[in-house]
Structures are given as C-alpha cells and as structure tokens.
Amino acid sequence: MFGAFSGKPAAPRSHADCSGCSLCVLVCPMWRRSRDLRFSAEGIAKALQCGAAAADLVQPLDACCLCGACDPVCPEGIDLSGLIMDLRRSLPAPAPRPALLDELEARLRREPSAAEASRTAPLLLPGPELRGDSGLLARVRTLLGLAAVEDDGADIALALELGVAIPPQRLGSFLASLQGHTIVAADGLLLRQLRRWLPGSRRMGLGAALASRPAVRGRLGAGDLYVIEPRAYHADYERMVAFYDRLQTETGCALSLDLQRIAIPPAAPGLAQKLGLSAADDTQQAKWLLQGRRPARIVVESIADRGAFGRVCDIQVVHVAELAQDPDLR
C-alpha cells in the first residue's frame, strides 16, 4: 500500500534514462545553430545508448557551450551538462596541444595559498573578466560590501570548461578556503559545481546578488531587457526562476528567457572558441534574443555579453552593477 507514495526513483539518472522527449533540444544553443539532433544533449545521450563512445562524440561535445539549459528542463532529472563535462574530460587534448592547456595545468599544480578571510565573512569570487575591469570590480565590491578573494578558483572554473582534470589537492584547498562562507561567484559554471561540492553552503550568482540591491533594482524599468547569466541561473533553477519572476513583476523589465523560462545565452562559444582555436562565436544567439524585442537598454549580468550585443545592435548595453548611480547606496 505504501508503495503508492513512491514516485520515480531518486537514484542519480544517467544517459540510459533519456526518454527522447526533446525538451532539451528546444533550449539548446548548439542545436539552434546546427538544427541537427546529434548536436544536443538528447543526441549525445541517445548515441551513448546505442553504444557510441566519447571519442565518437567529439564534435557535439566540443560545440556545447555548457550553458546548462538542458538540466532544468529534463523531466527525467538527468544531469546532462554534468554528463557532457564528464565526457569532455575523457577526450584527448586537441592536436597540436594549445598553450592554454599547459598554462592551466601549471596553475592547477601551484601550492595552495593560506586562508585569506575570516571563517564567516561572505566571499566574492569575481573571475578573470571582472578582475580585468578594476573600475567595475570596485563598484561591485562597494555595492555588495564584499572583498574579492585572491584565489577565486578561476583555474578550476577553466578546467571544468575545458575538460581538464583538477588535481584533488588543488580542489581540496580551494574548497577548504570556502567552507563556512557565503559565496557570491561571477562564474556560473563554478557556482554550479560548488553546489555539488559544498552542499548546504550559501551561494549566489553575481548577477542575482547585484539585482537584489535596491540601488540596482530601483533603476530597472519597462524599457530594459535584462540578460541573465545562464549558467548560474540554470544551476539553481527553481530558486532563480522565482527570483527573476519577482524582479520582472516588480520592475517591469523584460527578461532574456524563452517560453520555458530558460535563459537564452547571448553567445554560445564552444570549446574551440574557449581554447582560442577559432574565432569568436557567431551572432546568431544575440540576434535571436533580440528578435521581436525593441528594448531601450540592455542590462547584462556577464561582462562577456556586452560584446555579443555590440556585434549585432547599437542599443546601449550596461552591466548590472553600472545601474546604481551612487554605489554607496545599497
């Protein structure tokens, strides 16, 4: 009788559980670009079901931008982007080996640094792009009242992206430095993994943290298209979909969501673009995001998205931290 209470089994789901519903295809940027089922999480899962190995799937694995859109829509609860990252790690490095991989592996082997903050202070993991814009970083720090830690796991985030194995010692020391802290991370992929590595910790994406600030929120209006950083959003979908729904209701801004309430990435660079082996991503995603929309201003959470819109329109693009006129007003 009590078996009637049990639903689908809660065990981790694998590619074998893919039922072929294609909901992940609908939200997949690489499918949108290729219109080819093989270039989708479903295509990869189904090929694996038919005996394909990772080496047979190099093209779709490389083309995936790891936006994570497939994860929340999968009705079977399969960790599809995790599957793709796992498969990427099992692939051999491209030949000739890009210098970036050697540099990254050297960084990952470095000695762990001493803890930098008190055991409870919130930590800001800004990532390399925000670090590269010192003015914006200072504004972010002021708005959030957080110090940026020196070891923000940028090498770990890059290793996740490129499918490079992370030495346990390096990962252990990084996670130890985060234990007990509230974490605000700019890199959505890192945030996604921190959710798994540090269950129970308090984490938030940089965009959502900034959008929580009255000084930022109060400056959003009906003419704005607010562009969500997809990885952080999809990694914590149930919470974030409610958060951004409130943001939209309260401010009247448009969101970069599709009808499934999945974040559309303005750019979808694959592995080759990340490794610098081919040119920047095409403009298709940004054009699609803007199709039928006529915003007066575009507000982006990710610095990288500025460039994507700059290539396809002349609408003003600002980073969410730049909305606050006086950053001292939190």
């Binding site: 639903g7 189904k46 090929a47 799937l57 009705p75 199709q291 039928g292």
Partner: protein
C-alpha cells in the same frame, strides 16, 4: 509456426484478428528490417549529389526508437533535411534505388511509425525555420520540421499564437498535420491539421508541389491526415491568432459518464474556449475548462457553470474522504490519488506562468507536466475516436480494459470540431466516418513509473482497446506502425484498397514511410 513477412506495398491478413492465430498469444507486429539491397550504390549516388548521408551509431543512434520506446530499429543512414530541393533529390534517388525512407519530425509516435527498420531516416527538424509571419492575413509560413514550441516562441515575439497544437511541444508541425493534432481547444477550433492553409509537399517521386484546398486539392486531401504516405511536407502556411493568456477552471467528478456528458454539453453550446478531461484512473475525473477572455468566462459563469455536476477541489476532497473512509480496503488507491495530486497539481500553478490568475504559455505548462509526470522510457497510448453519441460507451469500455491491465493509468478526452468542407481530408484517418459536427477521442495511458512490462503485455492491452473500436465502428489516432493490423478491420477492404492503389500510383517503389500504413 512460419509467418512469412509481408511484401512492401501489400496489406496482408491481420495477424491479430479474432480468426487468426487461434489459441496463440497475440504478438506485436514489428516489421522486418529492410536488408539493404543496393544500399552502397544508393549511398554513393546520394553523396555524389551533395546529400549529407550519415552512417554509424552517432548519427543513427538518436533515431533508434520513438517516444513509445517499444519499437526499435536502426536506419542504414540518416539525412538531416535542409531544403525541399534536397528532400526531392533524396526521394528521387530512393525511388530509383528502391531504398525505403522513413520521415521523422519530433519522433513522438508510439507505434514505431517514425522508426526506420533500415534504409534512410530523414530528420525533418533540420528544416525548422519560420519563413514569414503575415500579421494582416493572420498566417505564418514555416518550414514543416519546426517544433510547435519553436513556432510558438517566434509567434509570441509578435504577440501571436497558433490556433491549436498537440499538448506536446516537441511535436513537429509536419508530423502533426500528417496525423491530426488534438488540443484542448479542438472542440472549438478543430484539429491542428484543419488550420493548414497550404502546404509545400515533396512527392514520393521527388516533385516539389504546392497544394491547398484550391490548388492540387487532391494531393492536399491525401497529405493532410495522410500518415506520411503521399508526400513529405516541407513547408506549411498556418492560420494564427492573437496571443491571449487563459483563465482555467477545474471541476472534479467521480463518474466518467457525468464528466463526459458535461464536456459534451459545454462543447455543443460553445460554452468555453478550451475543454477536456484528464483523469487519475477513473476515480478522480478532472473536467478542465478555460477562457481566452473575461467576457467568455462571465458568460460561462452566468449560464453554464451551475449546470455542471462536478465539484470544486475542496468539495471533491471531502467526497473522496467519505468514499475511502467507508472503503478502507481501497486506501492504497486513496494514497495514490494523494500522491499524484501532490506531484502534479503544483505544475499547473507555477508562479512564473501565472499573472493575475491567468495562465500564460499553457502549452509549455502542459507539455512539461506531461513529460515529467506521464513520460517514461516506455509509453503506450492506445486511443478510441468515436462519434459524440457513442463516446461514453467507448470510454467506459476502454476504462474497464485499463483497470484489467494496469494498476494506474490516465484517460485524456477531448472533442474535435469537424469542418464539413474537409470531409475528404478525414477519409481513412482518426476521424470516424459517421462523425458529424464533432468527433471525440480518448487516450488510454497506463502509468509505467519505472515498472517493467513485457511487449506482449503492452500489445495485448492495445489490442483489447482496439478490439472495442472494431466492434463500435470507431477509429483511432494511432492506427499505424505496430497497430496497422487493424487497418482493414476498421476501415474495410474497399477503402483500404482504394488508398493502396493511390499509394502505389504516387509511390511506385513504395519507399516512403513503408511500415506505417502500407
């Protein structure tokens, strides 16, 4: 026992008829694999013609089965459709080399209709772009491999919507037009196939033809609801309408008969914009009605609401509590109902889809819920389509079959408004020949939920449902693929032979979707 395989282009004796296989357990009816005669020459010619024909597990694996997950088969090669010209070249070559071509859209068939048992799998989702939206004429021209969801995304940017589409966003437009397409507004707006204004079709011999009710009408009649036998739809012009959110109302019944009678009463009187029945077994029967405008809802409240015999959620909960308190031996069923309610109801009330009490993007809400709470690696969804007056009987008999074969199941019932001028379209389709005004359809879907059933069990269940249809002179939505043994029994030899003759004329080598109907 040696049962010889059917030759392509023939419809042999039904292996599941009452007078066949006496005393032998009924078996499912997968077709034999095409053995690949002349494949190498065909593949070479296709590649020489610039057709990207992919072979191997990576390319063919994604197409190994359909949404039913029961029929499995691999093509020799797969082609992603890119243009009508490419599809025409492919079919021309396939015709010359006698290579079967199986066309797949969203792959949401359940009887293996979109599974290739050898030959070429043509994936139409490669042709999935919206070509033009005409907001004045209220039409959209789109490539036919587009998913309904992708079409909805583009229309929504223009504040438009399609008229009706399956409650499953990963159905493709072309595949839907080929079989019908039923929505919860079909009782008012008809099936999806009836919203097609014109089509671009590639015939089985490789001609590209535009057709409509006024241009090449005979081809239009055969392709619409034609189960892919007479051509590949490569583009379609569809009617559209202004986008509106809708306000839902739910009424709960413990009697299937009362719920169906009330549904038909609403449909006859055009009392709501959307109507349908969704059940948890036959214990909790949910009649949903919805409205595009406040005016329509107000008129419903004024005139029709009081005539419904269903309860609100709270009233029904009280009824059920009393019912099970008196029947403690059925508490397992009560727990199941509670669990389903706890799991499913929140899906239809997610805050991000609700504004001011109205539901936005209903098909997303339905589709995600359908896959999350009804989806499974195996799905069998036999159905019955009848005239309005015989529908209650069909559902009650089908329900008895469900109770016999499965512990848990769902029934989904809707009306389909018929267009008298489209009578030729409905010939040998899911629309029963005797239907006038409306046809009614019921899907009988067992809840698999990780349990393992044999293919024989599934097939026996489907046969038991379909036998009801034969006895009642009904039709079915899913009569192709593994269920094609019922075609002669349901439609009769004269009609089937006439269509077979048309098929042979249009497709001399019988290459196109050969295991679906003929």
């Amino acid at each position: 026992m040696n049962i010889p395989p059917n030759e392509p282009g023939t419809v042999g004796p039904c292996p599941v008829a009452p007078d066949a296989l006496q005393g032998i357990k009924r078996q499912q009816t997968n077709p034999a694999r095409w053995q690949g005669e002349g494949w190498a020459q065909f593949a070479a010619a296709a590649r020489a013609g610039g057709i990207d024909l992919a072979e191997g597990a990576v390319s063919c694996g994604p197409y190994a089965t359909d949404a039913g997950g029961i029929a499995y088969g691999l093509p020799h090669g797969a082609v992603v459709a890119r243009s009508a010209g490419q599809v025409a070249a492919l079919l021309g070559l396939a015709q010359a080399h006698r290579v079967p071509v199986t066309v797949r859209g969203g792959g949401l068939t359940t009887e293996g209709e979109s599974v290739a048992y050898g030959g070429v799998l043509l994936d139409m989702t490669g042709m999935s772009r919206v070509l033009a939206i005409d907001a004045e004429a209220m039409t959209v021209r789109t490539e036919a491999g587009i998913y309904w969801h992708a079409l909805a995304e583009e229309l929504r940017r223009e504040n438009l919507d399609y008229l009706s589409a399956p409650l499953n966003l990963t159905s493709s437009v072309g595949g839907t037009l080929g079989v019908g397409g039923i929505d919860v507004n079909s009782a008012r707006l008809g099936c999806s196939a009836d919203q097609a204004v014109s089509l671009q079709v590639v015939t089985p011999t490789g001609e590209i033809v535009e057709c409509s009710d006024t241009q090449n009408a005979e081809l239009f009649q055969r392709v619409i609801l034609g189960y892919g036998q007479f051509g590949v739809i490569t583009a379609a012009t569809l009617k559209v309408r202004p986008y509106t959110p809708l306000r839902m109302q739910y009424y709960y019944y413990s009697s299937l008969r009362k719920a169906i009678e009330d549904l038909q009463m609403l449909d006859r009187n055009d009392a709501s914009d959307y109507s349908g029945i969704l059940t948890i077994k036959d214990c909790a029967v949910n009649l949903l009605v919805a409205f595009d405008s406040d005016e329509r809802e107000a008129a419903f409240r004024k005139t029709w609401k009081s005539r419904l015999r269903g309860y609100g959620e709270f009233g029904f909960a009280l009824c059920m509590a009393g019912h099970y308190a008196l029947r403690p031996w059925r508490m397992g069923e009560a727990f199941y109902l509670l669990r389903r309610k706890r799991e499913v109801f929140p899906e239809f009330r997610r805050a991000e889809y609700m504004r001011d009490g109205k539901m936005h993007d209903r098909t997303v809400v339905y589709s995600r819920a359908v896959w999350k709470h009804w989806g499974s690696r195996n799905m069998v969804i036999p159905d019955l389509a009848t005239t309005a007056d015989r529908f209650v009987e069909a559902v009650e008999r089908g329900n008895a079959v469900c109770r016999k074969y499965f512990g848990c199941y769902t029934l989904y019932c809707v009306g389909i408004r018929l267009r008298p001028d489209h009578a030729p379209h409905y010939e040998m389709s899911c629309i029963p020949p005797a239907a006038e005004g409306w046809a009614y359809g019921c899907e009988f879907e067992p809840m698999i939920e990780g349990r393992v059933y044999s293919r024989d069990h599934f097939q026996s269940f489907k046969n038991a449902i379909y036998d009801i249809g034969v006895e009642m002179g009904a039709s079915y939505y899913r009569f192709g693929g593994m269920m094609k043994g019922y075609i002669r029994r349901v439609f009769g030899d004269a009609l089937v032979d006439r269509h077979l003759a048309m098929k042979r004329k249009a497709d001399p080598a019988m290459i196109l979707n050969r295991d679906v109907i003929f």
